[in-house]
Symmetry: C2
C-alpha cells in the first residue's frame, strides 16, 4: 500500500515537470521550423524497419532520428546506414523517454538542416504513452503477430495515438488477426486517428502513411 | 536533470520496500507448499495462450492464475474457461506488477488447493524485469515475430529469466529469425537458463517445457 502511494505521488510531480520540459522542446522545434514525431510500439513491432522506409518515402523532407534504447546501439547503427542523422540515447534502464531526456537529445542531435525528427521510443506499450515528450505527432506501430486485442489491453497507447500503423501485413495469413476488429477497437479510443495497414518488409502501404505524414507535418513542398 | 534524479531516488527506496514484500510472499508460499511462477514477455508474445497449454500439461499439478492487466479482463475470462482458479488484477496504469500487489493478489486468490500459481505479468520487456515479486521461477516468453535481437535490446529481462520459451515457432518460415543467434544471445546473459522453442498454437514443444517446469517446481509426484 505504502509503496503504491509513493509511486503515484512521485508520478504526479514528475508529470508536471515533464509537461514543462515538453514545452521547452516545442519552443525549440518552432524556432528551428522542425517537427518531432514520437514513434512508439511493442518490442519487435517493427519500428526501426518502418523508420528505414519512411526516411526514403518522406523525401525531400530531411529526417533526423533519435534511437532510444535501454541498452545497445543495434537500431542506431541500422539507421545510420541510410545516411540519416542519428543519435543513440541510452535510458539506463528506464522504460520510456521523458520530455527532459528528449529535450537534451534534441540539443545533442542538433536541429539545423532537419525538417522532421523521429524519436524511436523504448519498445513498450505502457509507459511511453504516459509521458508526452513535446512531439507534434504520435505514431504508434502495432504488428499483426501481436494480435488485434491490444487496444483492449493497452488502451492509453491507442488513446494518445495520432496515427496507427499496422505492420507485418505480409504475415496476415499466418495469424488470426481481424483487421476490422482492430480498427473498431482503435476507433473506440481515438476515432480521428487513421489506421494504415502496411508491411515495412515488402513496402506495401508505406506510401499511404508517408503521404499522410507529409500533409500533417506540413512539409509537402519543403 | 532534476526529474531523472528524483526518479532514481524513488526507485531505490521502492525497490527496498519491494524486496521486503517479496519476502512475505515467499513465506506465504512456503506455508502453503505452493510455488509461484512470474510469467513475463512482450504484449502479444502469447503468454496467455501458453498458459492455457501449461494448465493442461502440468496436470496433476493444480494451477491457479493471476492475470495482471493495465485494463480489461480478456485474459482472465479466457483462462477461466479452462476451469483453473483465476483472478484479474488491474494495475491502474502501472506498467509492471510489484511485490506488494502480488502479495495482495495471492491473498485474494487463496492458495488452498493450489500447487502452482502463475502470475501473468503486464506485457512489457522492461519494467517487470526490475521488480521481483517473490516468485520461485521466472518464465519469459519471446515470440518469433519479435525478432532474435531482443536479448541485445532488453538485456535485463533475459538476465533474470530462469527459463525462456520461444513461442510462435509455427510462424518461423514467415520471419527472419535465427534460433541459434537467439540462443547465443540469451546464453550470454544467463547461461544456465534453458530455451524451449514451441508453439502454443499447435502445441509443439510445450511438453518439453512442462516437463522441465514440473521437475523444477518439485511437483512430479504431487
Amino acid at each position: 500500500m505504502t509503496m503504491a502511494f509513493e509511486i503515484f505521488e512521485t508520478r504526479e510531480r514528475a508529470l508536471a515537470d515533464n509537461a514543462a520540459a515538453a514545452e521547452l522542446t516545442r519552443a525549440n522545434l518552432r524556432a528551428h521550423g522542425a517537427r518531432l514525431v514520437n514513434l512508439m510500439g511493442s518490442p519487435g513491432a517493427g519500428k526501426t524497419s518502418l523508420l528505414l522506409r519512411l526516411i526514403e518515402a518522406l523525401k525531400p523532407l530531411r529526417v533526423g532520428v533519435m534511437e532510444a534504447d535501454v541498452d545497445s546501439d543495434v537500431d542506431a547503427r541500422t539507421v545510420a546506414r541510410t545516411g540519416a542523422k542519428v543519435i543513440q540515447l541510452h535510458t539506463a534502464g528506464l522504460c520510456h523517454m521523458d520530455a527532459d531526456m528528449t529535450r537534451r537529445g534534441l540539443e545533442r542531435l542538433g536541429l539545423d538542416g532537419l525538417d522532421v525528427v523521429f524519436l524511436e521510443n523504448i519498445g513498450n506499450l505502457v509507459c511511453p504513452a504516459e509521458f508526452e515528450v513535446g512531439a507534434d505527432l504520435r505514431l504508434v506501430v502495432l504488428s499483426v503477430p501481436e494480435g488485434d486485442d491490444k487496444p483492449l489491453k493497452y488502451p492509453l497507447m491507442f488513446r494518445v495515438a495520432d496515427c496507427l500503423a499496422v505492420n507485418k501485413l505480409d504475415a496476415l495469413p499466418a495469424f488470426d488477426f481481424d483487421l476490422d476488429a482492430l480498427r473498431a477497437r482503435a476507433a473506440a479510443l481515438r476515432p480521428e486517428a487513421p489506421v494504415f495497414p502496411l508491411s515495412a518488409k515488402t513496402g506495401e502501404g508505406v506510401d499511404a502513411l508517408a503521404g499522410w505524414l507529409k500533409a500533417r507535418l506540413g512539409g509537402e513542398a519543403t
